[in-house]
C-alpha cells in the first residue's frame, strides 16, 4: 500500500503560474519522475517542468497532495478527470477549471472562478467533486454542467453563474447574484443568501435528496454538516426566470 504522490513546493512562487496541464490528462498511474515532467507555465519565465518547482515523492495510487504557498498557482486541477487531488492550503484562481471527474479538495481558500468554464467554453465542470474547505472567490462553478462544488465557508459573488446543471453547496454566506442566469442545477445555501430578483419563491419543504447529498459530504469529506441541516426546512426558489427557470436555490431555514 502506498500513500500516493506528494508535491512539496521547493520555494515560494514569485510569479503567477499556470498549472492547467499538470493534471489534465490521465495522471493517476504516473510515477513521481513522470509527474515531474508535466509542464507549468510561469507568467514571466514561461514553461518549466513541475519538478523544477516541486519536490515530488511517493508512489502512484491515484492520489496526489500539493503543499506550500500556492496563492499564485492558477488552474491547478484544471480538466481533472480522475483521481483524488488534495491542496493542503489555499490556491490561486480557476482551480478545477472545467474538471470532469475525480475529486479536488482544497483545504484552504480558493481564488476566483473555481470550477468554472475555461475561457471561450460554454461548459464548466462536467463531473467530479470539488471541495473548498475555506472560502471561494467570485464566479465559482460558473457554467457548471454536472458535478458538485462545495464551499465550506463564504462564496464570492455570482457563484453558479449561468449553471446548466449540477450542484453548488455553500455552507457560509453566499455573495450577491448567486445562481444568476442558471438554466438548471441546484444551489444549496446553508448560510445567508439573497436570491437574485429573477428567482421566484416556490415553497418551503424538506428535500429528501439533500439528505443523500449532505450524508455524502459528512461521511466522505468530514464536512461540518449539522443535525439542523438534515432536520430543517428549505425555501425553494425557482429560476433563473430570465433563462429556462428550471434551476433552484434551496435556502436552509429553521421553519
Amino acid at each position: 500500500m502506498t500513500d500516493g504522490l506528494a508535491a512539496r513546493l521547493r520555494s515560494t512562487l514569485r510569479q503567477r503560474a499556470d498549472f492547467s496541464e499538470v493534471l489534465a490528462d490521465s495522471w493517476t498511474a504516473l510515477s513521481a519522475a513522470a509527474m515531474s515532467q508535466r509542464p507549468v507555465y510561469l507568467e514571466r519565465d514561461g514553461k518549466v517542468p513541475l519538478g523544477e518547482l516541486f519536490e515530488i515523492t511517493g508512489n502512484p495510487n491515484g492520489h496526489i497532495r500539493f503543499s506550500g504557498d500556492l496563492l499564485t498557482a492558477d488552474r491547478l486541477g484544471a480538466a481533472l478527470s480522475s483521481g483524488h487531488v488534495t491542496i493542503e492550503g489555499s490556491v490561486g484562481a480557476e482551480a478545477g477549471l472545467g474538471m470532469s471527474g475525480g475529486a479536488l479538495v482544497i483545504e484552504g481558500d480558493a481564488g476566483d472562478r473555481t470550477g468554472a468554464a475555461p475561457p471561450g467554453f460554454k461548459r464548466g465542470m462536467t463531473g467530479g467533486e470539488l471541495i473548498v474547505r475555506g472560502s471561494a472567490g467570485v464566479e465559482a462553478g460558473a457554467a457548471m454542467r454536472r458535478g458538485l462544488l462545495v464551499i465550506a465557508r463564504a462564496a464570492g459573488d455570482r457563484a453558479g453563474l449561468g449553471m446548466i446543471a449540477g450542484n453548488v453547496v455553500v455552507f457560509g454566506k453566499a455573495g450577491s447574484n448567486t445562481g444568476l442566469w442558471s438554466k438548471r442545477g441546484s444551489v444549496v445555501a446553508l448560510g445567508s443568501i439573497t436570491p437574485p430578483p429573477t428567482y421566484t419563491y416556490a415553497c418551503t419543504y424538506q428535500p429528501i435528496h439533500l439528505r443523500l447529498l449532505l450524508t455524502r459530504l459528512r461521511d466522505q469529506y468530514g464536512l461540518a454538516v449539522l443535525r439542523r441541516h438534515f432536520t430543517g426546512f428549505y425555501r425553494r426558489y425557482s429560476g433563473d426566470m430570465a433563462e429556462l427557470g428550471k434551476g433552484e436555490i434551496l435556502v436552509w431555514t429553521a421553519k
Partner: protein
Amino acid sequence: MKIRGVLIEDTFAEAFTMRVARIVITARSLRWVRAAALKLTGFATSVIGCKVEAGIERELVPGETPDGRPGVSVLLMTMGKDDLGKRLIERIGQTVLTCPTTACYDGLPDAPDRVGVGSALRFFGDGFQSSKVIAGERFWRIPVMEGEFVVQEKFGMLKGVGGGNFLILASTADAALSAAEAAADALTSQPGVILPFPGGVVRSGSKVGSRRSKTMIASTNDAFCPTLRAITQTALPDEVNSVLEIVINGTDAAAIETAMRTGIDAACRAGVIAISAGNYGGKLGPHHFHLRKLMSRNSSD
C-alpha cells in the same frame, strides 16, 4: 432422524433459480414505511398467479438507510430478467411513489446486472422531473403534490432462489398452525430471505399440473390433504390431521439453507408428527435441500 420427537423425513425441498431485487423504502416514520411495503408486497405470493413473489426482508433503522430515515428492505422476485424490471416499475410506481413521504433506493448496489426503474418512473414528472448524481449514482426527483418523490435510477438484480420449503405434518390443525407461526416468527428479519405467503404460511401446497384440466399449471397437493387420505395415494402418516407449508425465497441457496434450518427447528414442537418437504422428483429445480442433511447439525435426539 427426530428432533424433539418430531420425525424429519428423508426427503428434500426442490427450489428454482429466480431473479431477485432488493428494494429499500424509507419514509418519515415506520407507519408510512410499512404502509408502502405492505402494498408493494401485496398479491405477490406466487409467480403462477401474481407474476411476482415478494416479501418484507426486514425493517431498517435510520443508520442503515441511504437517507437516514426509518426504512424497510423488500425482496422482489420473478422467473425472468425482463420481467423483473417490469414488475419493479409497476409496483414501485403504484405503491411507493403514491405513498406519503417515501423514497425508494436500490438495495443491491454491488450487483453488476442493473435494471432501470427511476429512469422509467421519472416520466410521471411530465418534464418537471430532475435528477441528481450523488456518489456516482443517479437519483430522480419527481415532483408530487406532497413535495418530491426520490427514486434511484437503476436497481441491481441477482440470481436468487425461490421455492425453498418444508411441510409441517401435525396431529391437529391447532398444532400445525402453532408450529407454523413459530417457524414464521423465527424467520422474521432473517437477512436474505422472505416468506411470500400470508403470514409466511401456505395451507394450499400444490402439485404440478392437474388430474382434470390440461391448462392448469398447478392443483392441490392431494397426497398431503388429510381429507383425501382414503381416496388418494396419501403421503401422510396415520396420526396426521393437518399440514401447513412454509415457503422460503432467498438471495442465494445458503440463505435458504440457514432459514430452513431455523424454521424447521422452531416448528419441531408438541403436536407435530413429522417435517416433510415438497419436490418434483428432482427433475425441475436445480436446488435440492435435503432435510436430514440440513438438520444434522442441530438434531437433539
